[in-house]
């Protein structure tokens, strides 16, 4: 079974693709059937993924299958699958979350007119994401990379009748273009420099390559992809807006899976980044800055999904930072645990939004805890996990990142990470206390969500609790024994663990004081730090800066180009056209409209050609060929 799953890993993306095709072509008119078929397919993929994981745990080796896609002289492109511990873990996470989210969607998307379409998109996304994960080369990965971008666009704009959804979808797509362009350039560079895009081959070649300057450029170009897709500063602006999509989509795509594709790409191409320490440093600082930057914004936001979105950005920053400081294991571990609890948070938020009929402002909620016990409990578990409280999942992975930062000499980043842990605990429990334990809003009549929605929550809550235990440094074969770069390590530091736990608890306590006990007035603090608060509340005015840039600089350049086009390019074209026109006036006298005249010219031309050919070689001429046997 496990061997079958590993050898036929192409089936994993194929099953959702089948679902997509079936729904699009046959099941459009049958919403329930399409949902069930989609879930059945993703479940099959999940079973296969379990097989893959089982195989990896038994024998952590790399299995690669590839076929030639097409080959030309000089370029040979292949398609294939690459199963190693990293992709095995990713396949497991993606299929699991996708399965749970799809089950959850049965309840959440109930009565939506685009039910079938929604599941078709979900299947397409699952196909693309899984295809991305199992790719064995950059080009195939890029294809699926673009496909997940497309799915993201489709799902953000799923409620396209809403203006904001359309705008958000466009924003996500366009912002991603910037990063993807860099990524594509990087791929082209790799193909030109090394003649192959296969990960395994490149991993062999790159360490021997000596032109570090060029390689740095390539690495940074490739890193542009993750900047866009994983929402790193400065291309993070699309992710909060992407919350316009249905909440399960946010959970699956914009929290647990698609956005970590960038992190996965860095991990996959880690050999490339390790070869150029400068690039690694850039990655580390970009990640660290994003983590801090997003966390500070999250403190001031009021929309439940936006808080979670900034939290996602912050956690993605963590993962990227971990990679930057060389902690591949830590990053991947955090990726996995984060997928569990962040998906849980989003699904919980979705449950709340569902119950409150699309209300998203946390200040309009309040007092949900008694009405929605399951949602509240699972949400709190997830929040604790995210805050990094012992022994929940986030604790282990966050500690590992901090350890990696400190042990690799990035003390500054370690401090930032610790501070971000504090901020994380603070904004998460601000959310929890306000939304679930605040003053009940008399307008609301919340009710617990149906089973089909709560069961995925419970499953994810269990995973959020125990998911981190696989990475306990005391285990003999823990997470790091499978996923590492170079060699496995089992280090831990009690001081870091204690610090981070204390810091998180401090954040929770501060939130408790400010928003539950109200002993510290949040308004007063906001008033006192008015400029900073406004800066944070308006997300550092990044969107406005981009808008100004586009309005002034891009439009100004556009106006110049317009003038050039109008007077220079059009002038040349019109001049040519006029010349042609006047030429045509002269030449048209040759066109009599009499077919016979044309025929005569034709025959005359034949006669002339025959005579000329006869003259060129008068001895035998063209007439010698008639004797062919």
């Amino acid at each position: 079974m496990t061997q079958f799953a590993i050898d036929n890993s192409w089936l994993i993306p194929f099953m959702p693709a089948l679902a997509f095709i079936m729904i699009v072509f046959f099941l459009r008119k049958a919403p329930q059937a399409s949902a069930l078929f989609s879930i059945a397919c993703i479940f099959t993929s999940f079973v296969l993924a379990l097989g893959v994981v089982g195989g990896i745990l038994a024998n952590p080796t790399t299995t690669e299958h590839s076929v030639t896609w097409f080959s030309m002289p000089g370029v040979s492109l292949e398609m294939g699958t690459l199963i190693d511990p990293i992709s095995g873990m990713m396949v497991f996470v993606v299929t699991l979350i996708a399965l749970l989210v799809q089950i959850y969607s049965i309840g959440y998307m109930e009565n939506d007119p685009g039910y079938s379409t929604y599941f078709a998109y979900q299947s397409l996304f699952a196909m693309s994401m899984l295809g991305l994960v199992v790719s064995n080369n950059f080009l195939q990965m890029f294809v699926f990379w673009e496909l997940v971008g497309l799915c993201s666009y489709l799902l953000i704009g799923f409620w396209f009748y809403k203006h904001s959804a359309r705008e958000a979808a466009k924003k996500a797509f366009i912002t991603n273009r910037v990063g993807d362009f860099g990524f594509l350039l990087g791929i082209l560079f790799l193909q030109i420099l090394f003649g192959t895009l296969n990960f395994t081959d490149l991993a062999d070649i790159i360490p021997t390559y000596t032109n570090i300057g060029l390689l740095t450029v390539v690495a940074l170009l490739v890193f542009a992809g993750p900047i866009g897709k994983s929402g790193q500063f400065p291309l993070h602006v699309w992710l909060p807006d992407a919350m316009e999509g249905p909440t399960p989509v946010s959970a699956l795509i914009h929290a647990a899976t698609m956005v970590v594709a960038g992190v996965y790409l860095i991990a996959r191409a880690f050999f490339l980044f390790v070869a150029v320490p400068n690039a690694l440093m850039v990655i580390a600082y970009v990640g660290g800055f994003t983590a801090f930057f997003a966390a500070t914004i999250a403190i001031t936001q009021n929309d439940i999904k936006r808080i979670l979105a900034y939290s996602t950005l912050s956690q993605l920053g963590y993962m990227v930072m971990a990679l930057g400081v060389g902690g591949l294991t830590a990053s991947m571990f955090h990726l996995m645990t984060h997928a569990f609890f962040k998906a849980l948070l989003f699904l919980g938020a979705g449950s709340v939004i569902h119950a409150l009929h699309n209300k998203q402002d946390i200040w309009e909620m309040g007092g949900l805890a008694p009405k929605m016990p399951v949602t509240t409990k699972t949400f709190v578990i997830a929040a604790l996990a995210l805050a990094g409280i012992f022994p929940l999942a986030g604790f282990w992975s966050k500690d590992e990142i901090l350890l990696a930062a400190l042990s690799n000499g990035y003390t500054g980043l370690y401090l930032i990470g610790t501070f971000v842990a504090f901020l994380t605990a603070f904004y998460m429990f601000r959310l929890v206390f306000v939304a679930f334990y605040g003053e009940p809003n008399p307008e609301n009549h919340p009710h617990e969500s149906p089973k089909v929605m709560t069961v995925p929550l419970i499953v994810l809550a269990c995973l959020s609790v125990v998911g981190g235990l696989v990475g306990m440094p005391w285990l003999k074969t823990n997470f790091g024994s499978y996923i590492y770069f170079g060699e496995a390590h089992h280090g831990y530091s009690l001081s870091i663990m204690l610090t981070s736990t204390l810091v998180a608890l401090a954040g929770i306590y501060l939130a408790y004081l400010m928003y539950y006990k109200k002993t510290i007035s949040a308004e007063a603090i906001a008033h006192r730090f008015q400029p900073i608060y406004k800066l944070l509340y308006n997300k550092y005015y990044i969107d406005e800066i981009y808008q100004w840039f586009i309005n002034r600089v891009v439009d100004g350049a556009g106006r110049v180009a317009y003038w050039v086009d109008l007077y220079v390019v059009d002038g040349v074209v019109n001049g040519l056209a006029n010349g042609t026109k006047w030429g045509g006036y002269l030449v048209r006298y040759l066109q009599t409209g009499q077919t016979q005249h044309y025929g005569m010219v034709l025959i005359a031309a034949v006669v002339v050609i025959v005579i000329l050919l006869g003259l060129i070689d008068p001895s035998m001429g063209i007439f010698a060929g008639g004797g062919a046997k």
């Binding site: 034949v606 063209i622 010698a624």
Partner: protein, 167 residues
């Protein structure tokens, strides 16, 4: 002078004479009838060339169908008398010179070329061989010709009857 040689010269005279009459006859119907005579002569040439099947096909299709169609066309498009219906254009002298030069070129080419003539005898019956070739080696052209004929016939019907406009 064997019999076949005499027959060849007679047929050649008939073919060329009637072909020239096609061009020179003032009455278009006469021209068309001379054309029929030309077709007959060509059919005779096929008999001389031991292509009996082709000779019969020539008569069946050219005389029995194509010539009839053309005469029909003549009759449907002439309203007044038939005198002076087959006149040449104003550029007939240029055309004549051009065609003469082309003929000289042809003659030069034909006489200068050392043809590799085979001395094998022609097969007794060609029908079976033709059928076999058409359905084996030339089956694709055969099918294409069939489709072409179908398309041509449909096109001709639509052209003359006028296509019915869809509501």
């Amino acid at each position: 002078m064997s019999v076949s040689t005499i027959v060849f010269w007679i047929i050649a005279a008939v073919v060329l004479g009637s072909a020239i009459s096609v061009v020179t006859a003032q009455n278009l119907v006469h021209a068309a009838l001379f054309m029929v005579l030309t077709f007959f002569g060509v059919s005779g040439l096929y008999v001389l060339l031991e292509a009996d099947f082709l000779a019969v096909v020539q008569i069946l299709i050219y005389v029995g169908a194509i010539a009839v169609l053309i005469v029909f066309g003549v009759m449907l498009t002439q309203r007044k008398g038939m005198e002076e219906t087959n006149v040449s254009s104003s550029h007939k002298w240029v055309t004549g010179i051009l065609v003469t030069i082309l003929m000289v070129g042809f003659a030069y080419a034909v006489t200068r070329t050392p043809w590799q003539v085979s001395d094998h005898a022609a097969p007794e019956s060609t029908v079976g061989l033709i059928g076999e070739l058409m359905l084996t080696r030339f089956v694709i052209p055969f099918e294409i010709v069939g489709i072409l004929l179908l398309v041509a016939v449909l096109g001709a019907i639509i052209l003359t009857k006028g296509a019915r406009r869809l509501p």
